[in-house]
Amino acid sequence: MRRRRRSALSTVMDATDISRALTRITHEILERNRDAEGVVILGIPTRGVELAERIAAKMAEVEGTTIKPGALDVTMYRDDLRLKAPRALERTNVPEDIDGRVVVLVDDVLMSGRTIRAALDALSDLGRPKAVQLAVLVDRGHRELPIRADFVGKNLPTSKSEKVRVRLTETDGADDSVSIEGSDA
């Protein structure tokens, strides 16, 4: 019998998996950067911001300090602006001076790497961090630029025709999940 085409959603991470992945990422960040005080967590809108908030909360819990996460909108730095209609800007809110600090960028899905390239440009206009690290919930491959994540929740090899959909409680009003949608060639 022919295998059914995977046109419907197939969930690859549920709320527990996501929570566990974020806890692990948090510990990895703390292990890599001994001094949590010197770390600035910046999420890339929309879902990266929420993930950044969760990671910051977990870090604060472990370290017993307060860590204020921020948001970094990269729209104005994108290289595909001229290909689409202009999009609305998202929130940028950098809570602390990033000069000489370690900035951890947080995003939901890493694919081509172009968003992160834009984020690096945006950061360099804001200051000069000591180092920039990247945490993503899902790395689905298909890189178009030499960019690699430091902390990965789940490696998810996909075909380009598939879509990875991340849902988070606050942003989407649904239970946390990561699912794959689209044809299975």
Partner: protein, 310 residues
Amino acid sequence: MKHLLSAGDLSRDEATLILDTAEQLLSVAQRPIKKLPTLRGRTIVNLFFEDSTRTRISFEAAAKRLSADVINFSAKGSSVSKGESLKDTALTLQAMGADAVVIRHHASGAPHRLATSAWTKGAVVNAGDGTHEHPTQALLDAFTMRSHLGDLEGKNVTIVGDVLHSRVARSNALLLDTLGANVTLVAPPTLLPVGVETWPVETSYNLDASLEKADAVMMLRVQRERMNASYFPSAREYSRRYGLDVARMNRLPDHAIVMHPGPMNRGMEIGADVADSDRSVIVEQVTNGVAVRMAVLYLLLGGATEGENA
């Protein structure tokens, strides 16, 4: 949105999008590097047939902060003063590859003519035409009000002075109505335009009557060059009846703000103490002007334009 010609062309969603975008862009002015790469390689021409230093430098700063190339074209001393027409000027700019033309013209409707002709392919932004409109000024005013008063739905805005010659008043009336605010125009009968009854506003000849309920008061400049004896008896009388002095300001509600599009005639339409008081947001309007113009240029030019892959 291809052009910005009139504040009346904006839907509520479009206006809100511009204001929201400007809010994010405002923070760029506070950064050490006040520049975004967004409009790199685009050319914006400031085509000013009428002098206006502050509007021109505001547009220029906005374009430069978005990394666009800016060409300033002033009619004075150019071939326009030798009799060159708007059409020939526009064709020259088109040949130079202008992506957007920011135009100020003494004739009402000149930006509209430019936008609807085949003379230029770029976006056209009206930076003030005759006594007609000045949409980016209305947007920056709405932005300033919104940042002090919150959502403008149901807010009362009083605009005082020479409505007849004021493109600021007309654009503000249209935009504020779109955003849900109630606008009252206060002016001597001679300085209200014919047809004002078709505007979405209330009118009054008495400033004192509308002070108590005003959330924002916008004083318009008395344009001395346009005034002659037929509009009002004397400067002193105008100032006494329609000027905003401290006594009048004190009758405003505590949260109310005082605005002026500049340049001010201190002591004429606005008292010096009022202009410098902590209710005055006049300097803030200038700062906000750059952010709002950045937002407009970004939304007109930041994405794909006609002829590029959409």
